[in-house]
Every structure is written in structure tokens, then in C-alpha cells.
């Protein structure tokens, strides 16, 4: 039983990483209706920017703030420059664009900062949290920040005019345009916010997985899986999905014989698909009914 609790706790700790990433994934899905495959790489790039700012002598929180602003502007710039011209192109062409963006960001980061692994500081320290060896203060802090972020997003979407406008633009673009919402800028805003949330995720994840251009590869896959599991239209679902995926993964690694590190991912994915077959819109997602 103790093994079980320990594994669940460890799962929650890793799950916090996925939850963060899943939030960013859901954010952009709300705005543009696609999964952005380059999301992880954008987050990685933002994290490198904050690292660079700290190398130049900026204190942690100033670097954090500056990175958020840079990522927000950067996200908007990417949308305006690269994806607005593709707005009328087929969806699959857009997906190809995400893959291209992935390749570009990854390779440019590798060229600027090279592929050596770098330490990244944590504002929460890394001593054991409440005497437990399994969750460090950093991981506890990460869970806290994820939950704060979730509440902030909920308030933003539920109670602000601009949040409402963004939801309208995403769910019914034509009608939103008719009532005077600038839908094109709402999409850009979605990109900016997703990019900033991605930056937060990256900065929180970097002390755990270390900073390097490929740090997000695995995390993004789990982040997608978490977002899909929780339901792509629900930020709360994404966070719950993130924790569940973390726990799944750890328990599968412990209890199913013959599952090494290598098979953890396929098994986690298989479980998620099983859930999806039963509940096709995700745990908290709302099924979309189409008019014929």
C-alpha cells in the first residue's frame, strides 16, 4: 500500500508538468481549433530567453516577467506573420505549418544555445516538501502555480468582456463578427496567451528536466494526451488530465511486469485511448453536435 501511495504521489508530481503543458495546449485549441505541434518548442524557446536574461544579470522574477511579455508578443507575431496568411488554407496544410515551425524553432535554439544540458534555477528551492521525499518544494510550487493559472484563466474567460469575445470568436466566428468582434485579432490574442502560458510551463518544467533544445519532446506528447483525455474544450479537464496521465504512467511502470521506461509512454497512450473510446469527447469535454 505504501508503494502505491508513493507512486501516486510521484505521479502527481510529474503530472503537474503535463498539466501545465496541457493548459497551454487547450488555450490555443480554444483560440484556433487546432493542436499546435510547435507549442512545446515555443515554450522551450521562451525558457531559453528567460535563461539568457538571467545570464545577463536580471533577477529571477524580472526575467520571468520579461519572458512572459516577450513570449506574448512573439506568439502574436508568429500568428500574424505565418498563420494568418494560411487562415483560408486547408486544416492539414496548417498542421504542416506547425511541423515546419517546430523544425525551425528547434534548430534555431540549437544554433544559438547549443545542445548541451543546462541547469535552470527554481524559485521554490528543491528541499523535500512537508517531509516527503517524493515531492520537492519545487514540484509543490509547480502544482500551486498550475492551479493559480487555472483559476486566473477561468476568471478571464468567464468574467471579462475580452474573454467572452474570445470564446465567441472561437465557437461561432461568423456570428461573432456580426456583433462586432474582431475575430482575427482574437485568434492572435489566443496565440499570444498560449505562448505566454507555454513560457510559464517551460520555466516551471526546466528545473526538473533541465534546459536543452529537445527538453519538450516527451513533455508535449504527454501534454497533448492530457489535454485530449481531459477534453480539449475544458481547461479544468486539461489539468485533471495532466495529473491522471502522470499517475497512469507511474502506476503502469510499477505494476505491469515487463514495462520499462520505454513502454511507459505507449501504455499511458493506450489507456487514454481506451478512455476516449468510452468517452469520445474526453472526460470533461462537451460533445460537439453537428448540424447536418
Amino acid at each position: 500500500m505504501e508503494l502505491f501511495t508513493n507512486q501516486v504521489l510521484a505521479g502527481i508530481a510529474t503530472g503537474a508538468i503535463y498539466a501545465c503543458m496541457a493548459l497551454a495546449v487547450v488555450m490555443i485549441f480554444q483560440a484556433i481549433d487546432h493542436l499546435n505541434f510547435a507549442q512545446g518548442e515555443m515554450a522551450m524557446f521562451s525558457t531559453f530567453i528567460s535563461w539568457q536574461l538571467m545570464q545577463w544579470g536580471l533577477p529571477y522574477w524580472w526575467a520571468f516577467l520579461a519572458t512572459l511579455i516577450i513570449s506574448f508578443v512573439g506568439g502574436i507575431a508568429i500568428e500574424r506573420l505565418l498563420f494568418k496568411p494560411l487562415a483560408k488554407a486547408p486544416i492539414l496544410t496548417n498542421v504542416a505549418g506547425f511541423i515546419a515551425l517546430f523544425a525551425i524553432v528547434n534548430s534555431v535554439a540549437g544554433l544559438i544555445w547549443d545542445f548541451t544540458i543546462k541547469q535552470y534555477p527554481s524559485p521554490f528551492g528543491s528541499s523535500p516538501f512537508l517531509g516527503s521525499q517524493l515531492i520537492s518544494t519545487h514540484q509543490a510550487g509547480m502544482i500551486g502555480v498550475t492551479i493559480l493559472l487555472l483559476i486566473a484563466l477561468y476568471l478571464f474567460f468567464q468574467f471579462t468582456r475580452i474573454g467572452l469575445a474570445m470564446r465567441a470568436a472561437a465557437s461561432l466566428p461568423e456570428s461573432a463578427r456580426l456583433v462586432g468582434i474582431n475575430t482575427s485579432w482574437m485568434i492572435a490574442l489566443g496565440w499570444g496567451m498560449a505562448s505566454a502560458i507555454g513560457a510559464i510551463a517551460g520555466i516551471l518544467i526546466a528545473p526538473v528536466v533541465f534546459l536543452e533544445p529537445n527538453m519538450m519532446g516527451g513533455v508535449l506528447i504527454y501534454g497533448f494526451a492530457a489535454a485530449v483525455l481531459g477534453g480539449l474544450s475544458s481547461p479544468l479537464g486539461a489539468v485533471i488530465g495532466g495529473f491522471l496521465v502522470g499517475i497512469f504512467e507511474n502506476l503502469a511502470g510499477t505494476y505491469i511486469p515487463g514495462v520499462g521506461n520505454e513502454l511507459k509512454l505507449p501504455i499511458a497512450l493506450a489507456l487514454i485511448i481506451t478512455v476516449l473510446v468510452v468517452k469520445p469527447a474526453g472526460l470533461l469535454g462537451r460533445p460537439i453536435v453537428k448540424r447536418v
Binding site: 494560411l86 496544410t93 465557437s171 485530449v228 497512450l269 460537439i288 447536418v292
Partner: protein, 338 residues
């Protein structure tokens, strides 16, 4: 979210491609065929090998095109079917000493069955959910092939070495050239069969499902059957391509069939034009040659150069090679009128 969201009328993910627009005219086809048949006589063996790979990937892209462009289902799992085909051929040749040509239909049938079975759970999923499910398959496949349980057959991490066949009947050809013509004949056969498939009753059912699933089922199309059938056919063709690939490369190993391969095939389909079968060869050329070109331009930034080139292509022709072909056809039409 809002009540309105529950009744969104959503445009289909893959736009409708009329049946006739899915193929090339007879004249153009013959010119392309002649070029493919004559070209190897004038080039070195290595280039012949690359052309063989071009045809093999074109087949794999074609298979994805039938699935996505034909029946509207998205797949990131094609590398898994490719791997199963490659391993089937390699195991039959090396462990059972079977003739290489005979292994291909077996690879095709096994992959068809695999795809058909995989299509069952995939039935309930669509869009990003299906993408995730197929993605999981692609991620799991290399790990499964490495499992100790199968090691006796698959050779584990090391993989298997496959012997390259000689030209039969004492034909005066190099092994590479023989394999090229062998692949070309199979590719043409599959291409013609695919076109006929899409023109048939089943093909119309695929397209009806792609354009509007509910309407298709109201018209009496057995949606479940045709969706899984599309998966099976696509997997079967990919499996034949995988088997050919194993023979051409003379080697199979789990790390040759990662998710990167599936993503490449997807890019090939987009560049060639979704739902336009002749575009498969253009897309295949893109995924084989453009990474090399990118590496030639800049070693350190090859990824970025590849990304920029890909962006250029999708900016200029968002519908891929199909768009180029259609514009060319219109211009020809105008010339004829004048």
C-alpha cells in the same frame, strides 16, 4: 461553453475533391511513366537506389492519401504499418528463405488485417482524437519490436539484414536497376488499382463518409465497414511499401520506423495535395530530397532551412502539387482555345 456551440455547422476537415480531379489525364500519365521507365538507364546506381526509395515512399504516401483524402480519416500511425510490412518481408525472407516477391503479398495481407482490426477502435474517434490514437500506435511500434519476447524473430534492437535479390533470368542488369523496375511495376499496379478503387462503389462510399458521415449513413452507406475498410486498404498498401523498403535498404531495425517516418509521410501527402493520388510522387520527392538540400545549404541550421522551405511551399501552393497541376491545366486549356 455556450448553447450555440452545440449546433455548430462545421466545414468538413478535408475539402471535397471531385472524383475526376483525383487523377491525371491519360497523356500526362504516359509521359510521366515513360520518364520513370527511361531515367535509370542514364544514372548511377546510387541515384537508382534513391529513385527506388522515391517510388516506395510514393506508395506509402498514396496509401495515406486513400485514407485521408479518400475517406477523411487522419492517421499519424502509418509508420507502424510500414514497419509491420517491412518486418514481415524480412522475417519471411531470412527465417523461412521465401522468395522476396512472394513475401510482398503476404506483407500486404497481414497489414490489411492489422489495419482493419486497428480501425475498429478507431471507429469511435475522429479528428484530433484519431490523430492521437494513431500517434500512439506509431510511438508504440518501435518499442514493441524491441521486446525480448519477439527477439528471436525480429533480431531485437539490432534488427535483421536482408539479402538483395539479383536480376532473374540472367538479365544484364545491376541489382539496383532490377529492384527499381520491380518496384516500378508494383507501384504502377497499385496506383491503377487505387484509382479504380476510388472510382468504384467502395470509393464513392469513402468519399461520401469524408464529406458528410451522417448523410452517408442516411444514404445507406455502412459507415463502420467502409471506415475500417479504408484503414485496412491503406495499411495493406503501406505494408507492401514497407516490404519493398526492407528489400531496397537491405536492413530492418526498430529505429528506422519511428514517428518521424509517419510525420514525413504526412508532409508528403500535404505537399502532394490531399486527395490527389498523382501528387503522392511529388510529395515523396519532397520528403526524400528536401532534407538533403537543406543539409547542403547549412549543416547547423538544416532543420530551420527545411522548415522555411516547407513554409514556402505551403504559402505558395496551400493545396500542394494538385494546385500546380490544376493551374497548368487551365493555362493549357486557354492556349488551346486561342
Amino acid at each position: 461553453m455556450s448553447a450555440a456551440e452545440e449546433v455548430v455547422t462545421e466545414a468538413p476537415a478535408i475539402e471535397a475533391v471531385p472524383k475526376r480531379a483525383m487523377t491525371l489525364g491519360l497523356g500526362t500519365s504516359l509521359v510521366v511513366l515513360a520518364a520513370l521507365a527511361i531515367a535509370p538507364l542514364f544514372v548511377k546506381n546510387f541515384i537508382i537506389f534513391q529513385m527506388t526509395m522515391l517510388l516506395i515512399y510514393a506508395l506509402a504516401v498514396l496509401a495515406l492519401n486513400i485514407l485521408t483524402g479518400g475517406s477523411g480519416q487522419f492517421s499519424l500511425g502509418q509508420s507502424a504499418f510500414y514497419a509491420v510490412g517491412a518486418y514481415t518481408s524480412a522475417i519471411l525472407m531470412e527465417h523461412f528463405g521465401m522468395n522476396y516477391a512472394l513475401t510482398l503479398p503476404i506483407a500486404g495481407v497481414i497489414c490489411f488485417a492489422f489495419g482493419f482490426v486497428f480501425g475498429q477502435p478507431a471507429l469511435r474517434l475522429s479528428g484530433v482524437y484519431l490523430a492521437l490514437a494513431t500517434f500512439a500506435l506509431a510511438v508504440a511500434m518501435p518499442q514493441l519490436l524491441k521486446l525480448g519476447f519477439f527477439e528471436h524473430w525480429t533480431g531485437g534492437v539490432q534488427g535483421l539484414v536482408v539479402t538483395k535479390p539479383d536480376a532473374p533470368f540472367g538479365l544484364p542488369m545491376s541489382q539496383d536497376m532490377w529492384l527499381y523496375y520491380f518496384t516500378l511495376v508494383i507501384a504502377i499496379g497499385i496506383y491503377i488499382a487505387s484509382i479504380n478503387l476510388l472510382r468504384s462503389r467502395s470509393g464513392r462510399a469513402f468519399m461520401a463518409i469524408r464529406d458528410n458521415e451522417i448523410a452517408a449513413s442516411a444514404m445507406g452507406v455502412d459507415v463502420a465497414l467502409y471506415k475500417t475498410l479504408a484503414f485496412g486498404v491503406s495499411a495493406g498498401i503501406t505494408g507492401v511499401a514497407g516490404g519493398l523498403g526492407a528489400i531496397a535498404v537491405q536492413f530492418v531495425a526498430p529505429d528506422g520506423y519511428t514517428i518521424t517516418l509517419a510525420i514525413s509521410l504526412f508532409l508528403g501527402m500535404v505537399v502532394g495535395g490531399v486527395g490527389w493520388l498523382p501528387g503522392s510522387i511529388v510529395g515523396s520527392a519532397f520528403i526524400i530530397f528536401v532534407p538533403n538540400i537543406a543539409e547542403g545549404i547549412s549543416k547547423g541550421l538544416s532543420g530551420a532551412v527545411f522548415g522555411v522551405l516547407l513554409f514556402l511551399v505551403i504559402f505558395l501552393v496551400p493545396h500542394g502539387a494538385r494546385q500546380v497541376a490544376m493551374v497548368a491545366q487551365q493555362m493549357l486549356g486557354k492556349l488551346k482555345k486561342n
